[in-house]
């Protein structure tokens, strides 16, 4: 089987690759490969750039050797999510993005009617919320571009690092040590302080800015209620803590999870070495953090089954959350090493970045928007087919749902208050 046959069978083509981008990716691949650990560096690898709606980079071994395939559209999607992360000032701004991802996932499954429906919802919700992300100045554009560059390097380094896992036959004890250091984070046992932080987080989510919880409590009635709420939260957190310890122990023994945490660690080390002299250290750590956040957001929505036809569950959610926490620990350790004068810096910036991502990107996309796509409210097959016919009759180019994604033609419907 050739690479072309592999790509044609498994990938939904988006458009031609951009020659200028291909050159940039080739240069990035060479840098990442050269900076990888010795066994990977010495392995001859072929590199190809594709542009597919699957948005997936991948390492495969064909009869002519190992290929690292990088998906240009993954890069473009990381870029769009990163812009949301930096610029969004209200959670609703992220909703259209969920529908774009759903449309593209439907195209990948050969469901043209469904893809057209979600593309239409994307176009309408985009116009309804388009003013809610701010304009970027030159400095912010540069920060976003640098962040996306690092994120794509992380993707390539992650794929290459998988090559280390099998041939190196790594000592299980050293992997155990790595997992212990990244997952058994010494937490505070001051439950009142933990409850206060938890309530402050809720207040942040509610207001969209860091207003401490105590500022919301003003009357005697609120104070009495607050006391009860605190006791309830404390009991729940103690139980969650016990449950989480059991979950962590199970994950640490799971071979796929062990591999992914190891590979994330390796990819992070490669990126930190590669960019530490070119970027602000905090921006670099946050870019690596964003890489895994963005990839898992894309993956979550792309695997979402809006019609409940597939019977698959998202049992990987716990493992993904644990991987993200482990990667944040890698980055916190590194910031402690390069900025020893500010021991709390890593924890603070990564916690804030995680909160911002959750508030403006992850939850609006994976919880709020997807909760509007319920199996019982989805149009039936006949309605979807009728809708597609009507759209294509009035806009013939919309036979390709990506035309709707690119051109977003339904501005008037948004103005008329139409929505999903």
């Amino acid at each position: 089987m050739t690479l072309a046959e592999y790509v044609k069978t498994t990938r939904r083509r988006n458009a031609d690759t951009f020659p200028a981008l291909v050159s940039q990716y080739e240069a990035l691949f060479l840098k990442v490969h050269a900076e990888s650990f010795k066994p990977v560096r010495e392995l001859p690898l072929k590199f190809a750039v594709i542009n597919s709606l699957n948005k997936r980079s991948q390492l495969i071994e064909l009869s002519d050797g190992h290929w690292l395939i990088h998906d240009q559209y993954l890069g473009q999607t990381l870029n769009a999510l990163t812009r949301l992360y930096f610029m969004s000032n209200k959670p609703d701004s992220a909703h259209p993005f969920a529908f774009r991802l759903l449309s593209e996932a439907a195209s990948c499954r050969g469901r043209a009617e469904l893809a057209t429906y979600f593309a239409y919802v994307y176009s309408v919700t985009y116009h309804a919320s388009k003013d809610s992300t701010g304009a970027e100045d030159a400095q912010k554009v540069a920060l976003r571009q640098a962040s996306v560059h690092v994120q794509e390097a992380f993707v390539l380094a992650h794929e290459l690092a998988h090559l280390m896992w099998e041939p190196a036959a790594l000592d299980p004890a050293s992997i155990d040590m790595l997992l212990d250091s990244l997952m058994d984070v010494e937490g505070s046992d001051d439950w009142d302080e933990i409850v206060e932080t938890y309530l402050d987080d809720l207040s942040f989510q509610f207001h969209g800015r860091p207003i401490p919880h105590w500022a919301n409590i003003n009357t005697d009635e609120e104070r009495a209620q607050d006391k009860i709420v605190r006791e309830d939260i404390k009991a729940k957190l103690i139980k969650d803590c016990d449950d989480e310890a059991l979950m962590r122990a199970a994950l640490k023994a799971e071979p796929r999870f062990r591999e992914e945490v190891f590979v994330d660690w390796m990819a992070a080390q490669t990126c930190l070495k590669l960019f530490r002299d070119d970027m602000d250290h905090v921006d670099l750590a946050l870019a690596i953090h964003l890489a895994l956040e963005n990839i898992t957001t894309i993956s979550f929505v792309s695997n979402f089954d809006p019609e409940g036809l597939e019977g698959e569950s998202s049992s990987e959610t716990l493992a993904v959350a644990a991987r993200k926490r482990a990667l944040r620990e890698v980055l916190r350790f590194w910031l402690l090493e390069v900025r020893p004068e500010s021991p709390e810096l890593g924890h603070r910036v990564l916690t804030e970045a995680n909160k911002r991502y959750m508030h403006f990107v992850r939850d609006p996309i994976t919880l709020d928007a997807l909760s509007r796509v319920r199996v019982d409210t989805m149009p039936g097959k006949d309605d979807l087919a009728d809708m597609r016919q009507q759209i294509v009759r009035s806009i013939p180019e919309a036979i390709d749902p990506q035309f709707i994604i690119r051109e977003r033609p339904f501005k008037q419907a948004a103005g008329a208050g139409a929505s999903s």
Partner: protein, 99 residues
């Protein structure tokens, strides 16, 4: 060409298929960066799909529900019934692997 991504199970089924038609059947290990990955994927060319013995084994594989998804011409199908997968096999067989 038809790709069947397997979520679990014995690779020997794939290896048996390869013995029947070494030039037309490929097995690839695959993974995705999000950590969700099939343990192996079976690729069958149009020539392989025209062989009745191979068709029979593939149908048995689908009936045993050990697959995650089936891909043809860039589209991946999940949760398909055996009859629907048979129709995908016919579609892939007609494509004659033009790339």
């Amino acid at each position: 060409m038809l790709a069947i991504e397997m979520s679990e199970g014995d690779r020997s089924i794939g290896e048996d298929l390869q013995k029947l038609s070494p030039e037309s059947v490929t097995i690839l290990d695959g993974r995705a960066i999000d950590g969700t990955f099939g343990t192996w994927t079976l690729f069958l060319s149009a020539a392989a799909l025209a062989v009745p013995a191979i068709q029979k084994i593939v149908v048995a594989l689908i009936e045993a529900k050990k697959h995650r998804r089936v891909s043809v011409d860039g589209c991946e199908y999940r949760g398909y019934s055996v009859d629907e997968v048979k129709s995908l096999m016919k579609q892939a067989e007609k494509m004659k692997d033009k790339s």
